[in-house]
Amino acid sequence: MSFDSTHWFWWLLTAAALLWYSTITVYIAFKGALDIKHMLARLKASAETSEAPPK
């Protein structure tokens, strides 16, 4: 996919889309998993707090 100077806009947009999407997929795969872990921990903690008997 060598540079297309005639249709440079679509060539650049396609290259940017593939580069960005490839990068973000790997990044989100790691960071999103951490988000899930933290979200479930917060929900668990809040459920335990609401179930705890009043002191």
Partner: protein, 534 residues
């Protein structure tokens, strides 16, 4: 003959489906309240939000209509994606409407409307949102099933049963875990879907070649294949309508706005928007490239292998037909898993978010006293199941004709035009009131519905310059509708937005000012008439 192998590709798909079901069902134990079920307890962080929004907004149906755009309009067909990206980035960056919406702490947009316009507007807005959303998603199942039939070479007789099994699987984890299951499965589905989309696109670029695709678009569509303003099927009306529509969708589309409302705070919601914005370019451009590759490589002989019914709308099915020929064994499994991931994430999210409006807003008048969390959860689960049944029934009998994107934009416009204008007025116009809101909702719903009905019923036979009947590929006379010929969906869409805006302003200004002794509970006083909320 496609390259789908039941042993290799079927195993990949099976492993993906099993992992999704396990993940979706496992998180059900965290659902103890209605807020957990509908908004994941408002605990969603940025990266999970990006994965979920991206996975939801890309279904098989998206892949089909964006590829159809590439097939019929060339690179210019990706224009709506660029417009959507710009709109989402600007809304996220400025916080336009979404900041006051998230700050208010509501569960749905109609709930915010009640504070400004009263309980009646909340209920009516809920009805319109659900009507537009369900009509929109009604075609998802069949289109998804047809993709599988064409790309994998499945027997079309098994389309309905395949769709039903897939929907039941999605419904099971959505009913059990609500938005929590949706977010967790969306994450898995985002990773699988993205891997499939990226790998297949690189394969296509390698096999077909950029210059072949560019030459094909130039030969078929000329400069219009690269520039929407000079494309015979697009022009300024298409661009302007899509700009309005995509901006309205960013502001009010239930699945998008649910991510803002599920975010742990307003800042997180805005970041989800700004950082997902460029995905909307990929969402149109990547399948668009698949469609252009199909345009470049498919011969009339190959297209004739489609069923007679599909040949009537060949531009829609060209992309899966091409992929079935071009993608090798092994990668085909990844592609099908990616498409199933795309479809399942979209279906689950649509069921939970539109179900949320039914419970929170349409059923609000029936909750005179506060319901227990248990009762609320039971009702929400029943509503999601009901939406699943509707999808099966409507998806099986609705005969889709013409351009899929035009159908989706028109059904979406039933509420997008009115809800976006009501939301902007609610957040930023002090004089907006319930008269204007009612007028806006009525205009916004009636105009697109009338267009759809007239487009289906008020038709004429197309004649050529010599006065002879123009025939379709199957020999039947070609028909067109008067509304499509005289106004067209794009100008009609622009006029709908315009008229809804005029109705909102005129209605609000026509309402007599309240008497000085009027109590503060008048429905158009912000904060008044909040009533029972979940």
């Amino acid at each position: 003959m496609t390259h789908f192998s039941w042993t290799v590709d079927g195993s990949i798909v099976g492993v993906y489906l099993l992992a999704t079901m396990i993940a979706g069902i496992m998180v059900r134990k965290y659902v103890g309240k209605v807020e957990h079920f509908l908004l994941a307890g408002r605990e969603m962080d940025v990266y999970l939000g990006i994965a979920s929004l991206a996975a939801t907004e890309f279904g098989v149906v998206t892949c089909m209509y964006t590829a159809q755009n590439g097939y019929t309009k060339g690179f210019a067909g990706a224009t709506p994606g660029i417009l959507s990206c710009v709109a989402m980035f600007l809304v996220g960056y400025t916080g336009f409407c979404i900041k006051p919406l998230r700050d208010s702490g509501v569960m749905t947009i109609p709930e915010l409307f009640e504070r400004k316009y009263g309980a009646g507007v909340r209920w009516l807005a809920g009805v319109v949102i659900v009507l537009g959303g369900l009509l929109n998603m009604g075609v998802f199942l069949r289109i998804g099933g047809e993709f599988l039939v064409v790309a994998c070479g499945f027997d079309a007789r098994y389309l309905e049963i395949t769709m039903t099994i897939l929907l039941v699987a999605v419904a099971v984890y959505t009913i059990m875990g609500g938005m929590l299951s949706v977010l967790v499965t969306d994450f898995l589905q985002f990773v699988v879907m993205s891997a499939g989309l990226i790998v297949v696109t690189f394969l296509i670029l390698d096999k077909v070649g950029w210059s072949t695709m560019v030459d094909t678009v130039q030969r078929k569509y000329g400069d219009g294949g690269f520039n929407p303003f000079v494309n015979a099927d697009m022009g300024w009306k298409y661009v302007l309508f899509n700009l309005l529509l995509n901006t309205a969708a960013v502001l009010t589309w239930q699945t998008s706005i649910a991510r803002v409302l599920s975010a742990k705070d307003t800042e997180t919601g805005r970041k989800v928007y700004t950082r997902t914005a460029f995905f909307f370019v990929c969402r149109f451009l990547i399948p668009g490239i698949w469609g252009i590759a199909a345009l470049s490589m498919l011969t009339p002989e190959l297209l004739s292998t489609l069923s007679p019914a599909m040949q009537k709308n060949a531009s829609l099915y060209a992309m899966p037909l091409f992929l079935g020929q071009a993608v090798p064994v092994g990668l085909m499994g990844l592609l099908i898993a990616a498409m199933l991931a795309a479809d399942m994430s979209t279906d689950s999210s649509y069921m939970i978010t539109w179900g949320g409006v039914i419970y929170n807003d349409i059923m609000a008048p029936f909750r005179k006293t506060r319901w227990s969390e248990k009762k609320g959860l039971l009702w929400n689960r029943a509503i999601v199941a009901g939406i699943g049944i509707f999808l099966l029934v409507y998806g099986l009998w609705y005969p889709l004709e013409g351009d899929l994107w035009d159908y989706l934009t028109l059904t979406g416009a039933i509420y997008l035009s009115s809800m976006s204008i009501l939301l902007i007025a609610c957040c930023y116009w002090k004089k907006a009131n319930n008269w204007g809101a009612y007028a806006g909702i009525v205009f916004g719903a009636v105009l697109p519905t009338a267009y759809l009905l007239l487009d289906k019923t008020w038709k004429f036979q197309v004649l050529d310059a010599a006065g002879k009947a123009v025939l379709n590929a199957d020999g039947t006379p070609k028909m067109d509708s008067y509304v499509n010929w005289s106004v067209g969906p794009h100008l009609f869409g622009i006029l709908t937005f315009l008229l809804v805006g005029v109705a909102m302003v005129a209605g609000s200004l026509l309402k007599p000012a309240p008497e000085p002794e009027t109590p503060q509970s008048a429905p158009d006083q912000p904060g008044a008439g909040q009533g029972e909320r979940a």
